[in-house]
Amino acid sequence: MSSNPLLVRTHPPVSRRGGNPWLLPKTLIPAAFVLLLIVTVIAPQWFTPLKPDDMDMDAVLSAPTLRHLFGTDSLGRDVFSRVIYGSALSLSIGLGATLIACVGGMALGLLSALAPRALRRVLVRLLDILLAFPELLLALLVIAVLGRGPTNTLIAVGLAGIASYARLLRSQVLQVKLSGYVEHSVALGESPLRIIFRHILPNTLRPLLILATLGIGQSVLTASSLSFLGLGVVPPTAEWGALLADGRDYLDVAPWISLLPATVVALSVIALTLLGRRLQTILAKGA
């Protein structure tokens, strides 16, 4: 009855083949790609001997060659190096922004669900207000206050993301608060603090962390949108969004300037997303 015998899916869930779910190709491939990205963050010079800012004014807009894998841009800079060095910045922004959004969202979400009544009410209103701003609008306002630059982009994208994480966490906490096991823990005689730290936090953070993995990719995209709107990083800094934005004017004469970086961006976000989803399934099944 609690495990309803009628709940038969129309197609039985593909039961995992024997073996470690971490070692399946659908986990390994995105994981390997993400690992590669992480290496570019740490040591971009391993991938290319060229500097991203060095100009060769005699080799402007040259098509991809062995020396310039992705060709060169309008100032004769090597697009491949710019993508590689750009990935360091873009991913750091994505990661940093997600971190800010998560931590801020955690604080706001937890407090707005668990704080004393009066404070809780104020925070819930604050959350309502924040949710009434579309993320990009909020990010634009933050950029306007702080100015441009990688750090500010990171902060803007992060701040703009707080509200949605906070809302998720709040609803999670409220759900867990009403769950049977929290009530049961009261009956066992556990103190409120113990319940918060032993049960509510661990059980709400896990979905949050999974969401955060997916969020990194989206943060990268939001940051690149800011760059596209001309509010991202400062030239000549290489950043993915800026690369795409700069390349769009050369789409018909030198499509490689933006097409190849765009492919890298999309692949990276796909890899991050796939990895996030895999984590979700694996963790949901319970190790």
Partner: protein, 309 residues
Amino acid sequence: MLWTGIQRLFTILAVLWGAATLTFVALKLIPGDPVSILSGGANVVDDAFRAQLTHEFGLDQPLWLQYLHYLGHALIGNFGQSYQYREPVIAVIFSALKQTLVLAVGALVLALALAVLNALATAGRWRYLRTFFTGLELCLLSTPVYWLGIILLSLFSFKMHWFPVMGNEGWQSLVLPIITLSLPLAAILSQILRDGLEEALSQPFALTVRTRGAGETRLRLRHGLRHATLAASTLTGTMLANVLSGSILTETVFGRAGIGKITLQAIASRDMPLVLGIVMLSALLFVIINLVVDAAYLLIDPRLRKRSS
């Protein structure tokens, strides 16, 4: 009933007030000289002129007075004059809103249609097609919206000449922007609707419907879809925000005049009244949409309706 109505209204006002205050503070924090915007790109500004402008727009008053003034006027729907356009903010917003609404509504409708078709077709069956579509959704969600627009534009407008690129005229000029804006939305919606549909199809009632001799189509259309809609409506807020953010980017790519464009310009040029007006508008829109969604919920799901007797 009346009491809940008043409470709702109060909540809405509180959210609007908060949004306005937050934006006011933010805008006052932003460095910048409104007079240089007011002077309309002139390269010469004398002191008398500066004083005149400052006075005319009330910028010589103390901050708290400006704030009170602003709130007071906003309460009666007067958001003041735009610095850039020298026109009432309301007028500026409404002329832009028309363009954006066409785009946003068009994109939402298209996204919904695509997502419903996709979900109906691929939920819980046709494994290869399903895999293909989930992959496509993933790609769409991982590609920046503006990039999608540029690609569509160069493909269908420049290369194939199927659609005009020109700004705001004719239905043809709407096709590509609507597609651009709708594809990522359709991708999210598809995922949610498919999940909702698969969830609904695994419910016992779906078995009941099958035992009545209903075909797969009837089951999905008459029963599953409504349940899937319920799942999707929880994400309306996110969707709305997506549409607004997406329209900023889409309008930039396609050179359409709309709220997105106006917003960008207003923020960049410190057009305080206009930015505040836009923020209030988006907050109001958000609140209203949420109310509408709540109402729609009741309409779709009888279980949420209160027993009247």
